[in-house]
Symmetry: C2
Subunit: 506 residues, 2 copies
């Protein structure tokens, strides 16, 4: 190949960080997304498909000081305008909500499924093009909109057969604001608020003591590096720790209540949480509003039959607190998987969302309240695969082999007959000379059966059927001698072929 290098051949590769999806990778995702879309539709959400390309101006990523806006997006100049591939489905929703504000119903419930593109450093399992699946309600300030999103998400998991394997946690950004208020941290003290948010976000890793150190003077890690803290007073720290440790303290309370009661059904974890949170934000108007919003959501969900075993108030949900303005929600799958080091761990988060303002304001100047959820499509699909949802359901096609090139029409007729009975089937279309290649092809296709008809079979109007899955099992279980004696192959009259295959496929 290197000898005649006049016109070098192009490299057959995807660009760095991109990939292709083949066969079941495509159809499993499509099936999952169709089920999700069915639930969204049932809830009155309307489909939306925005163009993949947006103006950089509409996306809001324009950096006036640089020649080229590439802050995480793929962008290029076209006739003097900067265009870019969308990096999420929320920015295009904002543009649509503004562009069609006179046409769209208000409130506007919409869902969108599709790829987004990020100009970021790719890594293992991290690609520059991936799917998102969002549902948002634009133009409603009602907590019923937030409760509905949580209920819908719960229905999605039930529809996907994940009942009992998920929990949706709900928190409210205003509660932390209230705690900061009663701790005496000024609303405009961005530096302290930033340190507090980052410290709380590290609770999982550092534990309560570590967070406490970061709220005070600072913390020295194992390597000896010192991180300067927020420098708050002990009283301030205790106020904040009542939020940081809320989940542990609430759980302890629930356990105490449980042990003091005979009828355990009387315990309401949500009531305990709400009472606890109302207590720690006592004196803050914002905090009170946050607790009130959480109570409204809890009451609405309880009235619809979504108990705390499915959707629960949980102050430990802090992800995205900085971005959202009211309720926030996060969905976790609770079943265990084995991680790459062989240790069991919970599958974890697959969806998150919350309430946000300023969606349309950038365009129109009018504030429009909105709330919504984004499902991590690849993570959810991986979860369904981990749960074995797709095991053994996707055979390849039945392959009709070609023994005699001059009788292609007869073989093709067999394929047609199979297809007419809704059996996925193929004629071998390669060069039929080497029959071994035909059987190798059947293997590669994952064919459950191969149909064979030579002159002898044709004369007797029968076909040979090779049960390839049984054959593979026999080959792995039996010695070569036994296997030769029990070939997974049988003869069937041509007229009975379709019925026999249909029966065996179940």
């Amino acid at each position: 190949m290197a000898k005649q290098k006049k016109q070098p051949r192009p490299k057959a590769v995807t660009p760095k960080g991109f990939r292709d999806y083949r066969g079941v990778e495509v159809t499993r995702r499509a099936d999952m997304l169709a089920k999700i879309a069915r639930i969204y539709h049932l809830y009155g959400f309307d489909a939306l498909e925005t163009s993949a390309v947006e103006t950089v101006e509409a996306l809001g990523k324009f950096l006036p000081d640089v020649d080229r806006p590439n802050d995480g997006v793929f962008a290029w100049e076209e006739d003097g305008d900067w265009l870019a591939l969308r990096y999420d489905l929320t920015a295009p929703l904002a543009r649509v909500a503004a562009q069609y504000r006179n046409d769209l119903p208000s409130p506007y419930r919409r869902y969108q499924v599709g790829p987004v593109w990020r100009n970021e450093k790719p890594g293992p399992g991290r690609f520059r093009q991936f799917y998102q699946c969002d549902a948002d309600t634009v133009g409603s300030a009602s907590m019923a909109a937030d409760a509905e999103i949580c209920a819908m998400l719960s229905d999605v998991f039930e529809e996907l057969g994940l009942g009992g394997d998920y929990i949706i946690r709900v928190n409210n950004r205003k509660i932390l604001d209230g705690v900061m208020e009663v701790a005496g941290i000024a609303p405009d003290d961005e530096r302290t608020r930033g340190i507090v948010l980052r410290a709380i976000d590290k609770l999982d890793r550092l534990g309560e003591d570590g967070v406490r150190a970061l709220l005070g003077e600072g913390r020295k890690d194992e390597s000896g590096d010192f991180t300067k803290g927020a420098g708050l007073s002990d009283a301030q720290i205790e106020r904040l720790m009542s939020f940081v440790g809320a989940n542990r303290l609430i759980n302890e309370t629930v356990e105490q209540e449980k042990s003091a009661l005979t009828d355990r059904d009387d315990i309401s974890p949500n009531e305990t949480s709400l009472a606890y949170l109302a207590d720690i934000v006592s004196g803050s108007e914002t905090g009170r509003a946050g607790v009130d919003e959480l109570r409204q959501i809890a009451d609405l969900l309880a009235a619809q039959g979504y108990g705390p075993d499915r959707i629960v108030i949980d102050p430990s949900v802090v992800r995205g607190l900085g971005y959202y303005t009211g309720p926030v929600y996060e969905a976790e799958l609770t079943f265990e998987i084995t991680d790459e080091k062989g240790r069991p761990r919970q599958f974890g988060s697959v969806a998150g969302g919350g309430r946000y303002d300023d969606l349309v304001k950038r365009f129109t100047g009018q504030e429009v309240p909105a709330t919504g959820i984004s499902i991590g499509v690849d993570r959810l699909l991986a979860a369904l695969e981990a749960k074995g949802r797709f095991d053994g359901v996707e055979d390849g096609p039945v392959v009709v082999t070609v023994m005699d090139k001059s009788r292609i029409a007869d073989y093709q007729k067999m394929v047609t007959d199979l297809r007419k009975s809704n059996i996925r089937a193929e004629l071998y279309l390669g060069n039929p000379k080497n029959f071994g290649n035909q059987l190798k092809y059947c293997d590669k296709r994952g064919a459950p059966f191969a149909i064979i008809q030579g002159d002898d079979e044709a004369a007797r109007d029968v076909v040979q059927v090779k049960d390839l899955k049984l054959g593979a099992r026999l080959a792995s279980e039996l010695s070569h001698e036994e296997w030769r004696d029990q070939p997974a192959q049988f003869e069937v009259p041509r007229a009975d072929m379709v019925a026999e295959i249909a029966k065996r496929l179940g």
Copy 2:
């Protein structure tokens, strides 16, 4: 708005030539594509989804002399590499077939559905992002592969409810090559061959006489402009005209045969065509091969039960003859629509394809035969809409209105009950103060029913149901007085609400 122009607001618009799709525009297309994918899958075709972004090198659009490759594609430079959005689904297939050639089964049947992007001047109904839906078989030289594509396309139309409304026409590029050969036009005389191809392509518009003129000295059009012709001799022209006029001559022969026979079933239009074509390419090896390929396809399709009422040999299919190397096919919808000027015309072409070489050769140096079809997704969807396939099947959701803000949980419960019976339903999530706005919202949503429950109804445990579609019909048919006497509104016990709505929705 113009007063405070410090930070001008971004414009909420799609880039020029792009558009969004909302509601049924998205779901109808998705439903149609799911039906097509079901047929493709049944035929053993595997799904493929390539990345939207390709290297310009792989796409084959690289222009070494210009700073920027923009020959019809959207392209940009990324870390020294030129990337571009795919402009069709065939170029990515070529890349995939080369990249995974050791993994893929051979032959490789694949289908792909998705958007493609063209950097072309947009026009009415012409957008820079649009859907394609392709199926190709890579690595098979067998005419059975071409016949299969035609049969599959026929099955697609049947699945979409277009039985009797379509015809798939098949031709072969080699026949025109054979005719040119016997007419004495050299294979390397690109200029003459180009003129001949362009002239034949104009048959519809210019008629046989116009084409004849272009094959000879040339032709003066109505405006007086003269187009220089190919300058062929009369004998050469007659040879070529035997191909140009083939369809008319074959049809005349079929009619003659029909009138000479009593049993019309004995007429085989395909046999007549093949005999005629064999005659006009007599003496050319290439032409003979083309006729032989057509005969193989016709025989295979006949054996599978696809008669010439569905798939027919038709020498008038010239579209794309320049690009393809063997069989070419084109699918037309034959029902009449009314064009923008009110004249009836056939709906026309919705899919086309054929056999092509050099698919993978660019990358690997190895020739790989391939054949495939591309469906014009937007045209086919428009056809289904023109046929009324979607009439009256897509109501909006049932809307539960809010009469008393403090009873949201009760209203939400009604919505939940409806959804549990698979009835699409919504709670009104806007500000409930103005009830008129709630009814306007119902209209905008296309709601079939609105549910109303005020204090009085709640006390009696009933709901009012407004039949909005009946109401709209009554309002258009009756005078205001009659309409007021027959309001399309009825009362139903709360416990019977879901069953009553389900019954009325059918």
